[in-house]
């Protein structure tokens, strides 16, 4: 038993963290709000690709790193920490192991009707009846949607057919959905951590009544609650990564618990962060909103808390 990341996992995560700190700055996220459809800047994406991040779950023989979800989940936490706009969950976590290769940027409707980065992606992984299929972007019709988080770059996707199905195996589709929920849970933990860190920094600087507002008990208690929620959501997400990697009997239950807890934790942290920022947090000038709005979206993508809680209840009832 060793419930912590291995040296290799830490080293890989830290390398990704360093890269993202340089190449996925708030300015890059803001640029994603404004870039025209289909023109999302791929600078950081290409760097992640070069580092092997998109092929973590692809076998080495097929050009990937041949690693498992316990490596990818900490990396997706880092992607959440910078509110990465690119569809990294859809591409690296869901599509890559399904296809067995990395084939560019992939968007998907598996997480919900709003497809993030639909116009920016090279291909779309779509649900078609009881099958999953890969479609070229030109083969489907996209209707851009105005989302609260502009960096979601989401669209509705309609299509008459999707070409050759990748799979019609319900077990494979269930695993893809579990991977998406797990990946978004990891992003949410990272988003929560980012909002907590940002707020700790702010309340330490911000002075009122002649003292940093972080010295006031009411503010401390908000942030202790935020830290508490993350402290207990993160192990649930890591355990789910292990369960997926090792195809444990409790995989579905563990993933649903991870998603429910990560969604709840990140939303709680977001509320506390906004409250502790005060009016400056209630603007689009402070960076907080970049993380807050992504949190609201991801908390409901890939199944909301009610859905996943009921799934846990079903698993426990068996």
């Amino acid at each position: 038993m060793r419930f912590s990341l291995s040296d290799d996992q830490v080293a890989f995560r830290d390398a990704v963290r360093e890269l993202l700190a340089k190449e996925a700055t708030p300015a890059v996220v803001r640029a994603a709000w404004d870039a025209p459809e289909g023109a999302l800047d791929r600078g950081v994406w290409d760097s992640l690709d070069a580092m092997g991040v998109l092929g973590v779950l692809v076998p080495e023989a097929d050009g990937g790193l041949g690693l498992d979800e316990t490596f990818l989940v900490p990396i997706l936490e880092e992607a959440g920490r910078v509110a990465l706009p690119h569809p990294i969950v859809e591409t690296a976590m869901v599509a890559a192991p399904l296809i067995g290769a990395t084939t560019g940027m992939i968007a998907s409707d598996l997480g919900g009707p709003l497809v993030p980065c639909a116009a920016d992606a090279d291909q779309l992984l779509l649900r078609w009846g009881h099958t999953l299929a890969l479609a070229d972007r030109d083969a489907v019709e996209l209707t851009a949607a105005a989302t609260v988080d502009g960096a979601r770059r989401a669209a509705y996707v309609t299509h008459d057919s999707t070409g050759e199905p990748l799979t019609d195996d319900p077990a494979v589709i269930a695993l893809a959905l579990d991977r998406g929920a797990l990946g978004s849970a990891a992003m949410l933990v990272g988003l929560g951590q980012a909002m907590l860190d940002l707020t700790v920094g702010y309340v330490t600087e911000r002075q009122q009544f002649g003292a940093p507002i972080g010295s006031f008990q009411a503010v401390k208690h908000h942030l202790a609650d935020a830290a508490l929620a993350l402290e207990f959501a993160r192990p649930a997400v890591w355990r789910a990564a292990w369960s997926v990697a090792h195809d444990e009997r409790t995989r579905g239950r563990d993933v649903s618990m991870a998603k429910a807890m990560a969604s709840d934790a990140a939303e709680l942290v977001g509320r506390k962060a906004l409250q502790c920022h005060g009016a400056i947090g209630y603007t689009v000038e402070a960076d907080l909103h970049l993380y807050l709005k992504r949190t609201w979206a991801l908390a409901r993508a890939w199944g909301d808390t009610a859905h996943h809680t009921d799934r846990v209840a079903d698993a426990l009832g068996d």
Binding site: M1, R2, A211, A224, L228, P235
Partner: protein
Amino acid sequence: MDLTWSVAEAAFRAEARGWLETNLAAWRAEHGGGTTSGDTREGFAEHLEWERRLFADGWAVVSWPEEHGGRGASLWEWLIFEEEYYRAGAPPRVTQNGIFLLAPSIFEFGTPAQQAGILRRMAGAEDLWCQGWSEPNAGSDLASVTSKARRVDGGWVLDGQKTWTTRGAFCTHLFGLFRTDPDSARHKGLTYFLLPLDTPGVTVRGFGRLDGDEGFAEVFFDDAFLADDAVPGGVVLGQPEGGWAVAMATAGSERGLTLRSPGRFVVTAERLVALANEHGDPTLRRRAATAWMHADAYQQQTPATVTTLTSGAKPGAEASLTKLWWSELDVELHHLALDLLGPEAELEGPWSKAWQFSLSGPIYAGTNEIQRNIAAERVLGLPR
């Protein structure tokens, strides 16, 4: 990351499970089911027999060295034992304030003579230890204690009052903080004493907790002479005037994993899930699943903590987060139990008793307000 147990750990689990099954059945048969609360006089005596049974076969304090009555189990094995203990439905440990709160401090600060003279008797439930920290005017603000001890020839003279002493009316010994430097203030000048409750001049009065059981006591010290050799190895733990450091080490154990192992909460959550499934109401069923997740999250977070500890780290301020989690989880679980029972929740019974007990969690071992302060200042680094 490796979430599997070794062959040896699996064997340890099987051995613990087998022992618990056999011995619980035997103990229950002797005591009409063993359902009387350990916080009543009658129940306490029954629970002591259970403690002695544990000790006789080396299961009372598995992680302690053999010379002190344990079996030298690793932290992981201790965790496994705790899981099995609560899964088996074994009773709450009436010795817990000694074995979980005081003992870690004796291992850290005690002299070899104190360790040899105190620990084994504590593990065997021959000496029963209670905590004398809080006073009528020193609760969350523990550093404001005013009970005092004065050095005299061959010992100390104690004056003052302690209160909220759990199971004090049934215990034989007390560990507590007394001011030995009358001119000192706050954290300085406090000394950590170990003393027999039958010391002349010490009076113990038990009184009813919220649930009516005589689980609380107040302890009066009236010119009580405490001889230096009243406890094997001496009555002062650590250095005179160095009591605050000892107390804080004890508080770390109380807040952290030693007092509240996750097994307890998971078992309660599983029972509530079963009750909710029987009940059939979809809202309650969802609440039960949520409560189960919160219990299981504690079960996942604990190995994360143990991994850190086995890598050589000392328990830190994160223990405050742990205390917040389990205490609020316990309230959540038992509030759900009341809602599952509906109008009959008002009946006296195990659930209504456990509900009342759960409400003490956010208060004892440092109120949750204090824990939030500690977490904010020492985990997040916010200014004091």
